[in-house]
């Protein structure tokens, strides 16, 4: 290995924002023909490192070389020109432009009189897509393409630029199993062409399946780099959190109390149908199923963000009006939605405002006035309770790491003291340490008598946390499985078959 020059090598790179050190000593060596995993908890400095490579940030110190030559990127254009491509979790393409136009955005080949050479653009894109072994029409607009296909277009862009180093920042977070396999096949073929790849993911099975080398980061520092064959998942987790994580699902056994939530015959044409279930006090009910089975839609209808045509929702025996989140909140429902940046938080508002958003009509009001004093007092209490890490309570929520943002959303709803808490994907995109913290907290809340409805796409989470599992398939509940009987096989079978087949 010693005589091969690294495609990209960063050593002791640091970056601070004001007094906050985001990266202490980042180190990463990407070799040609290798897929390098970069793992670490949220806030470990991975994203900062990637942004320095991409030219979005400039490093404060340390060295950065590409193929042995020192480089300094002042913009993303610099890094692209040097052969670096970064594929983000959610690509941002121009939805109304064609696949071809997106690939060549900003550097269209021109023919005579400065006319754009559409034919050569199209044929090159068709070539690349064929090489990647995927089926996307180069002429179709990108609107409506799945995230997986959009990522493929980003990769096509990178190939057409002949990128030497490709960095994929959590590309699989929103992909289905088949799509992940396809992405991996593409990644392997790029590796075999001699490109250097880096792969950031929170999913260890993927890291171990795809990568050959792994670098662990923690608290803004480089921890270790080793060949993947010489390590285990347990070792990596220990390096990431700096301690052993014994119990990822610290479930406390509870006895279910009175029925809190009753959903009866809920129907929204084309979305879900005949949804009937109950959630009792002290119980965690897991709502499992594949992405698109209608789980989040049911939760949104219960909370009232979306409407429904038939059926009824009752809380503690009282009917809830439909399509009225304010009434649902008054009745005692809290809802941690799926998309924390768009739905859970106002990311451009202060943390204090976000934490108190669900109680702004309740505890915060005294004599028709909401004062900053009461707002900050409540925010102090709940941010501390949830162990949110922040510099000041008037900092915008968008400045926090993903795990801390999720804690703010949880704090917001716990402040309202709900009887029923609906949590849609409680730990999506958050690090191992925070994950087990969220699980422990959910378990405690249930033990304290709260009814919890949890939607999760992670099977271990469903099996580990839920007292009862409801499985949905194509808008209907296909099975209800008690904790003792819930096995991965049973849940997956119910998630992929209709009700008759499951019953048979």
């Amino acid at each position: 290995m010693a005589n091969i020059t690294a495609t990209l090598e960063l050593r002791d790179v640091s970056k601070s924002f004001g007094s906050v050190v985001a990266l202490r000593n980042g180190r990463l060596t990407m070799m040609p023909g290798s897929i390098h995993a970069l793992v670490g908890e949220n806030g470990a400095g991975k994203s900062t490192l990637v942004k320095i490579i991409a030219g979005l940030y400039q490093r404060d110190s340390g060295s950065f070389e590409m193929e042995g030559r020192p480089v300094k990127f002042r913009s993303t254009a610099d890094s692209k020109a040097a052969g670096v491509a970064v594929i983000y979790q959610e690509p941002t393409l121009f939805p109304d432009l064609s696949v071809t136009e997106n690939v060549f955005m900003g550097r269209q080949p021109v023919g005579r009189f400065g006319r754009i050479d559409k034919a050569s653009m199209r044929s090159e894109v068709a070539d690349i897509i064929e090489r990647l072994g995927v089926d996307i029409d180069p002429d179709r607009p990108t609107r409506g393409l799945s995230i997986a296909d959009q990522q493929i277009i980003e990769i096509a862009k990178a190939i057409s630029l002949d990128a030497k180093a490709l960095i994929m920042d959590e590309p699989t977070a929103a992909l289905s199993g088949v799509e992940v396999e396809r992405l991996f096949a593409v990644a392997r073929s790029l590796r075999d062409e001699g490109r250097a790849l880096a792969f950031i993911s929170h999913r260890f099975d993927e890291v171990f399946a795809l990568c050959d080398t792994i670098t662990v980061m923690r608290d803004g520092s480089y921890i270790s780099t080793q060949p993947i064959g010489q390590t285990t998942e347990h070792d990596i987790v220990r390096l990431m959190v700096g301690r052993d994580v014994d119990e990822l699902f610290p479930k406390v056994e509870t006895t279910a109390g009175d029925v809190v939530l009753e959903v009866e015959g809920l129907r929204s044409p084309g979305v879900f149908d005949d949804i009937t279930f109950q959630v009792r006090a002290g119980e965690i009910v897991g709502l499992a199923g594949l992405v698109g089975a209608g789980r989040s839609e049911v939760a949104r209808a219960v909370f009232g963000v979306d409407g429904y045509t038939d059926g009824a929702v009752r809380l503690n025996g009282r009917p809830l009006p439909k399509n009225n989140p304010a009434a649902a909140m008054r009745a005692g429902i809290g809802f941690v939605p799926e998309d924390r940046r768009q739905q859970g938080l106002v990311i451009d508002a202060p943390i204090a405002t976000n934490v108190t958003d669900a109680i702004r009509r309740g505890q915060l009001v005294k004599g028709a006035v909401v004062t900053q004093k009461r707002e900050f007092a409540a925010a102090q209490r709940w941010a501390h309770e949830l162990e949110v890490k922040c510099s000041a309570l008037d900092a915008h929520a968008g400045t926090l790491s993903g795990g801390n943002q999720q804690k703010v959303v949880l704090a917001k709803w716990l402040a309202a003291d709900p009887k029923l808490l609906i949590i849609d994907e409680p730990t999506r995109g958050i690090d191992v340490g925070t994950k087990s913290e969220v699980h422990r907290r959910m378990s405690e809340l249930a033990a304290g008598g709260m009814a919890i409805l949890m939607i999760s796409s992670e099977l271990p989470e469903v099996l580990g946390m839920a007292d009862r599992v409801l499985v949905m398939h194509e808008g209907r509940v296909t099975a209800e499985i008690a904790r003792a009987d819930a096995t991965p096989e049973r849940v997956m079978f119910a998630a992929t078959h209709n009700r008759q087949e499951v019953a048979a």
């Binding site: 970056k15 924002f17 004001g18 994203s47 942004k51 991409a54 979005l56 940030y57 993303t76 983000y88 959610e90 690509p91 941002t92 909370f303 963000v305 989140p325 304010a326 649902a328 909140m329 809802f335 939605p337 768009q342 739905q343 859970g344 938080l345 106002v346 990311i347 451009d348 508002a349 204090a352 405002t353 958003d357 669900a358 702004r360 009509r361 915060l364 009001v365 028709a368 006035v369 909401v370 004062t371 900050f376 007092a377 102090q380 209490r381 941010a383 501390h384 922040c390 510099s391 000041a392 309570l393 008037d394 900092a395 968008g398 400045t399 917001k412």
Partner: protein
């Protein structure tokens, strides 16, 4: 019980160094400069003239501030001032008691605002398109209602009201009404759950909905407030001039929107404060008055006001830009690269 600092910046910096205060300083500087350099400026008659002429803009800046913080806009306010004025004249010459006519004129303003609000929130049309339409609609009705007639000779008891000043200060008595109204809007925006909802809608309407903010209701209420105060503005204008005409309030909407943007409200919503908008109106008023006194013509005054508006918006983006560079918050734009 304090585990975190509440604020990253100390109180004096938060209170004195911000976008709204910048306009207040500019206002104070303009007043001071005018007093020193413009002959006969530092008199109570100047205060009297400015406040009397900008009273409608002042009261309209209050609801416009909130409307624009939610990310909407209402460009029909000037036409509604005209319609209110025109209807007041029409009812008066038709023999309707003047007091009743005033109430009805204000009521029509409220209804017009409700129409705007329902079209925006229930039908789901963009507020710019809706109020562009009602701007033409209200103006058409205003001009149509009176035709070429100009109504004058309103009861003197009422037309005298805009002319009273508080003692020797030159401050019109009607400013008391404005002060109460401003206090009410400050309360509504900065000290109620409703106001928190207004900001939330402007920053992220989806997250607002997930926090139980009734966006449709909030926005409708704001349009009704804008309409109602347009009705009040129309009545005021009629009393001030003692004349009802269909073209009253033409261009007022632009003056109000300019003042609100100058006062620090983001055209994208989510950002702004009531006092900044009030300072914005006063700045435009003082500047126009001072320039007029030194003999600058109306067209040049417009050019200067326009330039000031663009400069203020540019300064705002410039500050945001340098701040972003410093904090490295280009992360937001990372994904578009």
């Amino acid at each position: 019980m304090n585990y975190y600092p509440d604020h990253a910046r100390p109180l004096w910096r938060r209170a004195l160094v911000n976008r709204e205060m910048a306009i207040v300083y500019l206002l104070v500087a303009t007043v001071a400069f005018s007093c020193l350099t413009v002959d006969n400026f530092a008199q109570s008659i100047t205060v009297y003239n400015i406040l009397r002429n900008y009273f409608s803009a002042l009261i309209l800046a209050l609801p416009m501030c909130l409307v624009m913080i939610t990310g909407d806009i209402d460009i029909s306010v000037g036409s509604m001032v005209g319609l209110s004025c025109s209807l007041l004249g029409l009812m008066y010459i038709s023999g309707v008691p003047f007091e009743l006519a005033m109430v009805v004129a204000i009521g029509v303003g409220a209804l017009g605002g409700l129409l705007n609000g329902l079209l925006v929130t229930r039908v789901g049309l963009p507020s710019l398109a809706v109020t562009l339409g009602t701007m033409a609609l209200f103006r058409g009705l205003a001009v149509g209602a009176l035709g070429t007639t100009t109504v004058t000779k309103f009861p003197e008891f009422w037309t005298a009201i805009p002319k009273y000043a508080i003692g020797e200060t030159g401050v019109p008595v009607v400013m008391v009404f404005f002060a109460v109204l401003m206090a009410a809007f400050i309360w509504l925006l900065h000290f109620t759950a409703f106001g928190r909802g207004v900001y939330a809608i402007g920053l992220n309407s989806q997250a607002a909905a997930f926090s139980g903010v009734d966006s449709a209701r909030t926005r409708t209420v704001l349009f009704v407030l804008a309409g109602t105060l347009s009705g009040v503005g129309g009545v005021y204008w009629t009393l001030l001039r003692g004349v009802a005409r269909g073209d009253t309030g033409s261009g007022l909407e632009l003056q109000v929107i300019a003042a609100v943007v100058l006062g620090g409200v983001s055209v994208f919503g989510g950002v702004g404060a009531v006092y900044g908008c009030v300072a914005g109106v006063l700045l435009i008023g003082v500047l126009a008055n001072a320039l007029q006194v030194v003999g600058v013509t109306a067209d040049i005054i417009k050019i200067i006001t326009g330039g000031l508006l663009i400069a203020s918006v540019m300064a705002g983006s410039l500050i945001a830009w340098t701040k972003n560079r410093r904090v490295g918050a280009k992360a937001a734009s990372a994904q578009t690269e």
